[in-house]
């Protein structure tokens, strides 16, 4: 955008902000009547600063996210899957204590969370040395997803996921 147009836009924003803040105050409100043009200019500068800072943080985050994941990052979805797997076992064990509808809907919620963790794992680009662990984890994630989506004969692979998680902690 050309500079004069940007300045006009900023001036319009200042004017709008001034109109919004220049309303009559109730007796219990602040003693200040309205925002001065100086205050409004400062507020716009602040907003520009915030947007620039956010853009910097976003760029940094994007750069970091494109690096291949190491053991620390790979461990995160595996730990989530291990916890979800343990919860699925708990839900199966406690379904009598809970109401049938609760057990059914909570299993659906859990299945959705498992799908999200599995998708995160599958979308990860990992360091070459971690390729085998990722492949093994993906297979377990698929097994867990099948169990969560109602395959009653499918066991939740909690112990195997825990072993994988531990192998990454060393």
């Amino acid at each position: 955008m050309p500079v004069p147009r940007a300045m006009r836009a900023a001036q319009r924003a200042c004017g709008l902000l001034n109109r919004v803040m220049s309303v009559r105050r109730t007796p219990s409100a602040s003693h200040r009547e309205c925002a001065t043009p100086g205050e409004t200019r400062k507020a716009v500068h602040q907003a520009i600063g915030c947007v620039l800072a956010l853009a910097l943080v976003g760029a940094a985050a994007l750069t970091i996210s494109r690096r291949p994941a190491g053991a620390d990052e790979l461990r995160l979805p595996i730990a989530e899957l291990r916890s979800q797997s343990a919860e699925l076992e708990l839900l199966r064990a406690q379904s009598a204590a809970a109401s049938p509808r609760f057990a059914q809907v909570h299993a659906q919620h859990l299945a959705k969370a498992i799908d999200a963790s599995r998708d995160e794992l599958n979308a990860m680009q990992v360091e070459p040395a971690l390729g085998e662990v990722r492949t093994a984890a993906s297979a377990l994630a698929s097994q867990l997803a099948a169990a969560a989506h109602g395959a009653a004969d499918q066991a939740a692979p909690t112990a195997a996921l825990k072993a994988l998680e531990r192998s990454l902690q060393r």
Partner: protein, 412 residues
Amino acid sequence: MAQFAEIFLGILTAMGGFVEIGELTFTLNGGTRFAYQLLWVNLLGTIGIIVYCEMAGRVAAVKHRAVFSLIRERAGFSAGLLTLVASAIVNLLTCSAEIGGVALLWQLVSGAPYRVLLLLALLFLVLVVWLLSFQSIERIFGLGGLLMIVFGIALVHLGPDWRALAAGFVPRWPQTSHPRDTLLYFYFAVALMSSIMLPYETYFYASGGIEDKWKPSDVGLNRLVVIVGFTLGGLLSVALVGMGAEFFAAKDVEPQLPGTAALGVAATLGQWGLFAALLGMFFAFGGAAIETALASAYNLAQFAGWPWGKHRRKRDAGRFTLSWLAVFVLATIVVQTGVDPVSVVEYSIVFSVVVLPFTYFPVLMVAKDKSIMGEHANGWLSNTLGWFYLVAITLAALAAIPLFLLTHGGRG
């Protein structure tokens, strides 16, 4: 009796801070990962929120001034506007999460589609705030939220390690197996402190005091209300840590869903426990949604000088009414996009730390000013605690974002 009912303002405010959807799963997780090691943060945060809500309530009773009016006057327009925008974002995100939480709970009971339930939750909350008086809202949701005591009953039923629980109230260096877990411990400490001292609790509480028409003679009542309300909230929070430490840690489960929390109670107490937990969570999440929507409207109206208050006729406080309606609608749109309510509120908790010093500094400045507050100005204890917590939350605000990034958003 009427004065006793004021207690529910404290209880409802505390519910919005201690047991809303994000705090519920976050506290359970804290207990699962670190057992009782973080209990001292609960204690510290509970005293902190008591100190600042007492000050804000006292200012409201004596001068009839709410927090955002003070923020604009004391911090100036620019810093005030920044605080307003940041707190509006935090409130909106939290409100989204709570509406999502209410819909999730209704789905657990009815099995109906989530997105339909989101719209029903929006309709329900709008009708509640539109039709009920402020006093009725605080009593119904404050009283209903007390059903969360079922988590405490479940903890006692589990037979916790009382010695370890008591030792948790003493701060100590964390006992972890990996340096990464030590960082995570500090992340949890900062975020837990922030979530207990969430700024919207103070906005809502002080504005609620004005809604309840407190007078200078109600200063003692204000003190009682904050102590009882937030102590109850703190106890519920301890019960959640205990459930995490005693039940979920043993099962290797890190709770991420409200249903998981209810499952823990069901496994311990059976079906009646399950339904009490679901009902308690419904009132807690619903109360937090109302608290955040009203807090947003209070803030905007107080900052801009508009007439505000549930006690006014809607046409006399049109922009205030429109503001809370807009927050409910926007929050529902946010959660209709399919974002996970728990993740949303966890982000909002971390970013709310940054708003805390801007919120609490003006409150302290006015509450300690004898020329404004006269005989009701802070005594030495309030001043000492006020400064201590201001320094603590400023340090937490500086550490929050780096810790958040270093721990992969608190995941480990």
